[in-house]
């Protein structure tokens, strides 16, 4: 079973040879990768004079090297080349093609493609006022976003992606950013439509969102993605509860507390990782990962620790 097959088995609810792992974002790369950092990432490397094609090769190689080093079965192309992106914005697509080029079918390869509304980066006010004052307009925006995502779907699958991780965040620690009623009206139907379309096109789909998803989880399950990521314990999401209630409907990914990986003791981090493996491993359908990502500034000793725990417990 190669890495890709392992993830496909899990996303189809099956039991692989061992629990696969991956990270949505891995931004602490200097220590283990000869000082290399992501082009377009938080710390741009010195790439004076590098051609576009070489930049793509550089990031593609770093994605593969991270996966190899930490035994990741899935690679998520989480960013384009940022300020070094070309005019046509083909960075993600070209990175996907290059990763396939360099590693064949070894890894499950995913990218962004979420057409739904999310917690706005800025201009929360405009978004909310539109939602409250101009519902018809917002439905039109939502419909257009879904239309675009269908086009992107084919483009990325043709480039060699296996599917999508839908990364629009819906929840704060306290719960959804809009009421469950507004969620049902403005997000749920569009999420469902997009997921259905992507799956029909042959894509695998994992829905990601931060925060306390419990008030809206039924809508997420109802959209029928293959998997659900990041299950944040900081927001009170308990993988044991989710596994019991929804484990036969959806594959689960995450739940190792990434906040503790910055502020907690080794024992707390160990407990979190072991808890996830203990309660999500049985019956398959689990991908081990942090409850968000390996963000800039996270001490890598924390990641080393959960990696060791995974190695020791991953076998079925």
């Amino acid at each position: 079973m190669n890495h890709r097959e392992r993830i496909i088995t899990v996303l189809n609810g099956g039991i692989p040879d061992y629990i696969p792992t991956f990270e949505l974002v891995f931004d602490e790369t200097e220590r283990d990768f000869e000082g290399r950092t992501w082009i377009g990432g938080p710390v741009d490397p010195d790439i004076e004079g590098m051609s576009y094609a070489d930049k793509i090769k550089y990031n593609a190689k770093l994605y593969i090297d991270v996966a190899k080093r930490f035994g990741h079965s899935m690679i998520f192309v989480n960013r384009n080349l940022g300020i070094h992106e070309n005019k046509n914005e083909t960075g993600v697509r070209d990175t996907i093609m290059e990763i396939r080029n360099q590693s064949g079918d070894e890894y499950m390869l995913m990218c962004h493609n979420d057409p739904t509304f999310m917690i706005p980066f800025n201009n929360m006010e405009d978004f909310c006022f539109n939602l409250m004052d101009r519902p018809e307009y917002m439905h039109e925006v939502a419909r257009n976003n879904v239309k675009d995502s269908k086009r992107i779907c084919h483009e990325m699958l043709e480039a060699g992606a296996d599917g999508f991780i839908l990364c629009c965040d819906y929840c704060f620690n306290s719960g959804p950013f809009i009421s469950p009623a507004q969620f049902e009206e403005f997000i749920a139907p569009y999420l469902k439509e997009a997921v259905k379309y992507f799956k029909n096109a042959g894509a695998y789909v994992i829905k990601h969102t931060d925060g306390n998803i419990m008030p809206i989880i039924d809508y997420l399950i109802d959209a029928e993605p293959h998997g659900l990521h990041s299950l944040d314990p900081m927001a009170g999401v308990d993988i044991k509860v989710i596994k019991e209630k929804y484990g036969d409907k959806i594959a689960l990914c995450g739940n190792v507390d990434c906040s503790l990986m910055q502020t907690g003791t080794r024992d707390q981090i160990r407990d979190s990782a072991e808890y996830c493996l203990k309660h999500a491993k049985h019956g398959g359908g689990y991908i081990f990962s942090t409850s968000n990502c390996v963000f800039r500034g996270m001490p890598l000793e924390s990641y080393d620790l959960i990696h060791e725990i995974w190695l020791a417990n991953r076998e079925y």
């Binding site: 909310c128 950013f177 809009i178 910055q262």
Partner: protein
């Protein structure tokens, strides 16, 4: 008075035009501007704050209520005496350096303004120097730091230290908040007040300013 209850109700529903109309009607009926503000609008905003804390309403509802409040205040302003116009206190708020999260901080600002405090918002990614400058310039009773990342939360400690070094520590109360922040952390770094949500932050700020 029934009209004050209606103002509070309409404000909670975010009906800005209604609030504006009712406020004008109240004035025309001879109700004191300060009473309309406190027993009508602020009362409504308070209820929204508590409901938000209890997950009974969400950010959009809070924002439209705040918008209705602003409409009402604009209508009231010409009828407030200079004395009534004076805020109950002054707060400087900002998200600490390295951190771009502002949704929580903005809600704190809204709730504080809803209680009649003047809030100076320094935005996000605010350096220690900027906080110091703002304390000197605005002389607030309270300075508030927000942080959402465990990696930036530690910068709060640095700002507290810088404020001490600048000899300004006894001039302001330091209030902190944001998802990873705790009461314990507040004590550890020598800040004064921790609040876990916007409504409590506004209450605590009013307490400080009243003393």
């Amino acid at each position: 008075m029934k009209i004050l209850d209606t103002i509070s109700e309409m404000l909670q529903k975010g009906k800005a035009d209604e609030v504006k109309k009712l406020v004008q009607q109240g004035i025309d009926e001879g109700i004191n501007a300060k009473i309309i503000l406190e027993d009508g609008m602020m009362k409504g905003m308070n209820i929204i704050g508590v409901k938000f804390k209890n997950n009974e309403v969400y950010v959009p509802e809070v924002l439209v209520a705040a918008r209705a409040m602003n409409f009402g205040i604009e209508t009231l302003k010409p009828y407030m005496t200079e004395h009534e116009n004076i805020a109950k206190g002054k707060v400087v708020l900002g998200t600490v350096v390295g951190d771009l999260h502002n949704i929580g901080k903005n809600l704190v600002k809204i709730m504080m303004e809803g209680k009649g405090l003047e809030v100076i918002d320094l935005g996000v990614d605010v350096s220690s120097e900027k906080y110091i400058e703002a304390i000197k310039e605005h002389q607030p009773q309270i300075i508030g730091f927000s942080a959402l990342l465990t990696t930036t939360m530690i910068n709060m400690e640095k700002v507290v230290a810088t404020i001490k070094e600048a000899g300004l520590r006894d001039k302001v109360k330091i209030m902190i908040g944001g998802a990873p922040v705790t009461e314990e952390y507040c004590k550890t770094i020598g800040a004064d007040i921790y609040c876990s949500d916007a409504a409590s932050a506004a209450d605590a700020a009013i307490d400080v300013c009243a003393n």
